[in-house]
């Protein structure tokens, strides 16, 4: 049985945090792809923690990392607002 609560809320929480990300010379799209694959591996290593589902993956962690990546790609900051002020 899949619990939809941590999937949906983790995605929304990740989107909210991902709003504040900005691209720079050390953080670009390729590093974003690397981090997503890295977080996918970590969520597989965590197993079904903490909701004890039948899938061998931590769905809350995975949806949070997916939300971070999507939040950066769709809504992330385009430019450094500190330098403009």
């Amino acid at each position: 049985m899949i619990s939809w609560g941590p999937i949906i809320v983790g995605l929304i929480f990740g989107l909210v945090v991902g709003f504040s990300f900005r691209k720079n010379e050390y953080f670009n799209y390729s590093s974003l792809l690397f981090m997503f694959i890295f977080l996918l591996i970590i969520s597989c290593l965590e197993g079904e923690f903490p909701f004890y589902e039948n899938l061998p993956i931590s769905l809350g962690f995975f949806s949070a990392s997916l939300g971070l990546v999507i939040g950066k790609l769709l809504f992330g900051r385009k430019e450094n607002s500190n330098k403009n002020s």
Binding site: W4, G5, P6, V9, V17, S20, F61, A64, N82
Partner: protein, 163 residues
């Protein structure tokens, strides 16, 4: 304030570690009702990831930028959301912060129970929503403290250079 003298190794290392901190913090917030942790602990973990990046890159060049508007919106959302769910418990359950998602005393209408019932294998009701709102508030609050200190430090340095 920029950190030009920080090693590139640290700068390359910072964002993946911050991603892990933030995702683990969100997981701690979401599992707060059945595992050790909760809103404050998870929010502090998310803030630690953000603070790590801000300390390494500096306030102006950081890839994670929390603006004043963003901080105020999230902080307000967390506080008002907590009070709102507490008031729903007061109106329908008779006491502030009554768990309207679980409704142990069967006094809340069914449609309110369905709205505030967290879709989970546990019957936690509205408790995860409290954790989430506290987590939102804590992660921006703790990050704002460090951002304010760094801003004060850069202002002090500019004032000393002027003197």
């Amino acid at each position: 304030m920029t950190n030009d003298d920080i090693s590139p190794i640290l700068k390359i290392f910072a964002m993946p570690v911050a991603f892990i901190f933030i995702a683990l913090g969100i997981l701690t917030v979401l599992g707060g009702h059945i595992t050790p942790g909760g809103g404050f602990q998870g929010g502090a973990m998310i803030a630690s990831g953000i603070i790590l990046v801000i300390l390494i890159f500096g306030l102006n060049d950081s890839p994670i930028e929390l603006s004043h508007k963003y901080i105020s919106i999230i902080e307000t959302l967390g506080a008002l959301g907590f009070i709102f769910i507490g008031l729903v418990g007061l109106v329908y359950g008779g006491s502030f912060l009554y768990n309207v998602g679980t409704d142990f005393y069967s006094v809340v209408p069914n449609f309110i129970v369905n709205i505030f019932h967290y879709p989970d294998v546990t019957n936690a009701g509205a408790v995860p929503y409290f954790n989430i709102l506290v987590g939102l508030k804590v992660f921006v609050g703790l990050s704002a403290v460090v951002i304010a200190f760094l801003g004060f430090k850069s202002l002090t340095e500019e004032a000393e250079e002027d003197d």
